[in-house]
């Protein structure tokens, strides 16, 4: 049964809206605006009643998997439980109904929350100062690199330092952010233990390097034991260290990027600090820096002066603005609430249990799937479908089959350095029972790969649609609905 689009439910003349009355003396629109300014053809928005509207989107929600529906072990995404009390707090009118240009005296609660959240994040990261302005992790990366660039330029070193080094295991956003900041990207190899290959790093290091971008633990879920040496190599050549905070959930209260030698880091509040991902966003990507880089933070910086919280725009060396206003404030409210609920002990326990869960699941699956790096992992681990490939079964088949068991699939085909990669991040909020059920499904799939690979090739079987054709979608893109252009199929409800 095909789910109709909202447009296909439209009936001319039907209405859901109710707007305030026009209680001022009404004039003809043509008196108020010249003809050339007016719209000629009205937009073909759907015409539906409120009940139909609510049912439509409720039905859509039922065709969607979230953490509240079931296990979501998407590697590098930290799909932990999103506490409901944080949602309630963020929905308070005292947070939602604030205009960004209200005078500071009227929004002291909001500014205090931002200031304190910034202090907490600096303590967790081992950094000195922070901006909350970036809207997502990749936005944080771009902001952090801009800060690094401004720092080098302030030292007369900017024109020479044109390269940013990223490991071959890095998130795709790392090289993309470096390029979007005008840097040339240089890739450095990983060693046999999954860390940065020190010889390769030394070979590419020079006074042309602005920064090394690193995730630690890295995208293989492995802590780079050579981090102190790596920091030394980069710093000795005058470069800076950028920390991609996507994997911060492994180390809260255990180790701090600032103590490892990192100069700039971004947090993903929507990963580590439990704010929901919203089906793709909004996120929030605060960037914390060491003192020497603080003058370059975007404006404004939230500060405290004489017991009053203020927005400080008087920062002459600032890179400027990376977004309108001050960042995704409503996301910050949830992250602040999370940190206040857990405290130092709770955050450390969250990381410890995230690592426990990942190692437990990794050991349960290791007999059935190839484990390319056989050592303790941190919050996530990477398997390969190399064994299954021998039976003609690919990672994609395994991922699609998992959906039928009621689980979201892990991250697949990433990191790029592992063939047929399956990247699993269970997070600390999953019970042993859930992990066992997931492991049982994975073991069953490994068995099916040998006995009945066809059932995997045609998976999923129990979803509202079967495996969708992504090749045709990209070759002949249909990116919007148009009246009468497509057969609407069976528009049942």
């Amino acid at each position: 049964m095909t789910m109709p689009l909202i447009f296909e439910r439209s009936e001319a003349g039907r209405k859901a809206y109710s707007l305030p009355p026009c209680d001022v003396p009404k004039k003809d629109v043509t008196e108020l605006l010249p003809g050339w300014a007016l719209r000629k053809t009205p937009p073909a928005l759907p015409e539906v009643g409120e009940v139909d509207l609510v049912r439509h989107y409720t039905k859509l929600s039922q065709r969607n998997h979230g953490v509240d529906v079931g296990f979501y072990p998407l590697g590098s995404c930290t799909m932990k439980y999103n506490p409901k009390v944080n949602e309630d707090a963020a929905a308070l009118p005292g947070f939602t109904n604030l205009h960004p240009y209200e005078p500071e005296d009227l929004v002291q609660g909001a500014l205090e929350l931002m200031y304190e959240l910034g202090r907490y994040l600096c303590e967790i990261g081992g950094m000195d100062e922070i901006t909350l302005q970036p809207a997502a992790g990749a936005h944080g990366e771009l902001t952090g690199l801009m800060i690094i660039r401004a720092y080098h330029e302030s030292r007369g070193d900017g024109a020479k330092r044109t390269k940013v080094i990223v490991p071959d295991s890095a998130h795709g956003t790392n090289p993309a952010s470096a390029a979007f900041c005008g840097y040339k990207v240089v890739e450095v190899k990983s060693d046999a233990r999954g860390g940065v290959d020190l010889d390769s790093l030394r070979a590419v290091m020079s006074d042309e390097v602005a920064a090394l971008m690193l995730t630690n633990p890295n995208t293989l879920g492995l802590f780079d034991e050579n981090i102190v040496e790596i920091a030394k190599i980069v710093h000795e050549a005058g470069g800076l260290l950028y920390y991609d905070g996507a994997n911060m959930n492994a180390i809260m209260g255990i180790a701090r990027p600032g103590d490892m030698g990192f100069d700039v880091l971004h947090f993903n509040l929507h990963k580590t600090f439990s704010t929901p991902h919203g089906g793709g966003g909004p996120g929030s990507g605060p960037v914390a820096v060491k003192k020497a880089l603080a003058p370059f933070l975007p404006v404004p910086v939230v500060d405290k002066k004489d017991g009053r919280f203020v927005l400080d725009y008087d920062r002459p060396q600032s890179i400027g603005k990376v977004k309108a206003f001050y960042g995704n404030f409503n996301v910050m409210v949830k992250a602040y609430a999370y940190i206040r609920a857990l405290g130092a002990r709770g955050l450390r326990e969250a990381s410890e249990n995230a690592v426990l869960n990942a190692n437990y699941l990794m050991r349960k699956l290791a007999p059935y799937y190839h484990l390319p790096y056989d050592r303790h992992c941190k919050h996530e681990f990477v398997l390969s479908a190399a064994h299954q490939l021998a039976c003609g079964v690919h990672t994609a088949d395994i991922a699609k089959m998992l959906l039928d068991y009621g689980f979201h699939a892990p991250t697949v085909y990433f990191p790029l350095i592992v063939r047929e990669a399956i990247m699993v991040e269970p997070t600390e909020t999953e019970s042993k029972g859930t992990l066992d059920a997931f492991a049982a499904a994975m073991v069953e799939i490994a068995r099916l790969a040998e006995t009945n690979p066809e059932v995997l090739h045609s998976a999923p079987h129990k979803m509202v649609v079967g495996r969708l054709d992504d090749v045709t979608a990209a070759r002949r893109p249909v990116l919007r609905w148009r009246q009468g252009e497509q057969a609407s199929g069976d528009c049942g409800n």
Partner: protein
């Protein structure tokens, strides 16, 4: 509280399965010299009840637009958000999901995004829309870099009528990419077309105007588009979506890329975020478009479904050659916009625009009739206008706040030549009574 469900027994069974005796052992690869040897210095944890009370107390220390009557706008607007929007975006199947990478288990969000894309295309009268960007400011910056790639040129012309924070963001992005940003002057509150023509050249990748512009004035978008196209540059229109039931949409005046801030479409003001950056363009530009996009496809049985597509543009495939570094976007705000626009429908989008238009003009007529208050521009406007006033706008703002009114945004910070002016926004929510009492308070100042 840590939301960890394990019992001690669970933990010991799990450690046994791993083959270690303690969780500490799992961290043996963290070198001693980088280990934190103390507890993090953070406030003591709170129970859920304590937390709820603490958060409520913090919230109470803010004056909301429920407590005060707001005439603030300037890129963040107090539009009505119907209950249906909040209820739908509060469905946790939506808000606790990640980006719909596994299409078959994420059809709800994917279809909602596809609907959002269609609704935005209809609204701005363009061929294709992406799935969202961070906000209006970054949408302008992304459109500029997109135009530079498309035109293979490195100069961008932007009107001083574009939101000052958007221009600041554009400049931050452009600087590192070697893109030159040239500003076109304003004259009587709108883009000076002679100056625009003067600064636009065959080296210009795109010309960017905002409509209505930051001062609320309606721009001659068709004339600006002609100037851009005469130099082979793309024309980028940054628009207020709420205006588009009334005002001409970008597609009707020849824009190549339409961007803007979609906060007014069902998202609260939330002290500046999260908002909704939108970007739509002509079909020919689609492969240079930044950000995610959902497309229609079929399953083996011919059933219709939706999937993230054209991913060869994106960072996770293309890495340093991607069209943008964007990954997370504002999907939930896009969902809010889809629900809001479907709630309004064909006649509602016009009605909400007309309400803003009527109420703003009533306010304008009343305010500019007060001795000493005069319009900052003679150009037509939609829901926002600038007035010069006989008292410093900052002081007026403070005085009016004591009467529970959030007066407009003082403009001196953004335009030194408008140091005596205030930008006043009037949405459909304002009543005649509220506007009248605002005027009485202003009369008291003069």
């Amino acid at each position: 509280m840590n939301y960890v469900p394990h019992t001690d027994r669970d933990r010991s069974e799990m450690l046994a399965q791993i083959g270690v005796s303690s969780i500490d052992e799992l961290f043996s690869d963290v070198p001693a010299e980088v280990r934190l040897k103390r507890a993090l210095r953070l406030p003591e944890p709170m129970s859920e009840y304590e937390l709820a009370r603490h958060m409520a107390a913090l919230a109470k220390r803010n004056a909301t637009t429920d407590d005060l009557v707001s005439f603030l706008g300037a890129g963040s607007y107090d539009h009505f958000v119907p209950s249906v929007v909040r209820h739908i975006v509060s469905r946790s199947e939506f808000y606790t999901a990640y980006t719909p990478y596994q299409a078959e288990i994420s059809q709800g969000m994917l279809q909602a995004i596809f609907e959002y894309q269609t609704l935005m295309c209809e609204l701005v009268a363009m061929d294709v829309s992406n799935a969202s960007l961070y906000d209006g400011a970054t949408a302008v910056a992304e459109a500029a870099t997109m135009a530079c790639r498309q035109a293979r040129r490195q100069r961008v012309v932007v009107s001083r009528g574009v939101h000052p924070e958007y221009r600041a963001t554009l400049k931050t992005y452009a600087r590192n990419l070697g893109i030159e940003v040239v500003e076109a002057a304003l004259s009587d509150g709108v883009t000076d077309l002679e100056d625009l023509d003067r600064v636009t050249s065959p080296a210009t990748a795109c010309v960017i105007l905002q409509n209505p512009n930051f001062l609320g004035c309606v721009e001659h978008m068709d004339a600006a588009a002609e100037i851009a196209h005469a130099s082979g540059a793309l024309f980028v229109a940054s628009v207020d979506p709420i205006s588009l039931g009334v005002l001409a949409p970008p597609g009707e005046y020849g824009a190549d890329i339409a961007v803007g801030e979609g906060q007014g479409l069902g998202s609260p003001m939330s002290y500046g975020g999260p908002y909704l950056g939108f970007l739509a363009c002509r079909q020919e530009l689609v492969r240079n478009m930044p950000g995610r996009v959902a497309g229609e496809t079929r399953d083996p049985e011919g059933r219709r479904g939706y999937i993230l597509t054209l991913q060869a543009r994106e960072q996770h495939i293309r890495r340093e050659r991607a069209t943008s570094n964007i990954c997370s976007n504002e999907a939930l705000s896009a969902l809010a916009a889809a629900v809001y626009l479907s709630w309004l429908g064909k006649s509602g989008i016009r009605e909400v625009g007309e309400l803003c238009l009527q109420k703003a003009h009533y306010a304008f007529d009343r305010i500019t009739a007060i001795p000493g208050f005069r319009p900052a521009s003679s150009a037509p406007f939609f829901k926002e206008f600038a007035v010069r006033m006989p008292v410093p706008p900052e002081e007026a703002g403070k005085a009016l706040a004591r009467s529970n009114i959030l007066a407009g945004v003082p403009l001196g910070r953004f335009y030194p030549d408008l140091g005596d002016a205030m930008l006043i926004a009037v949405t459909e929510k304002r009543t005649k009574e509220e506007i009248d009492s605002f005027c009485r308070a202003l009369e008291g100042l003069a």
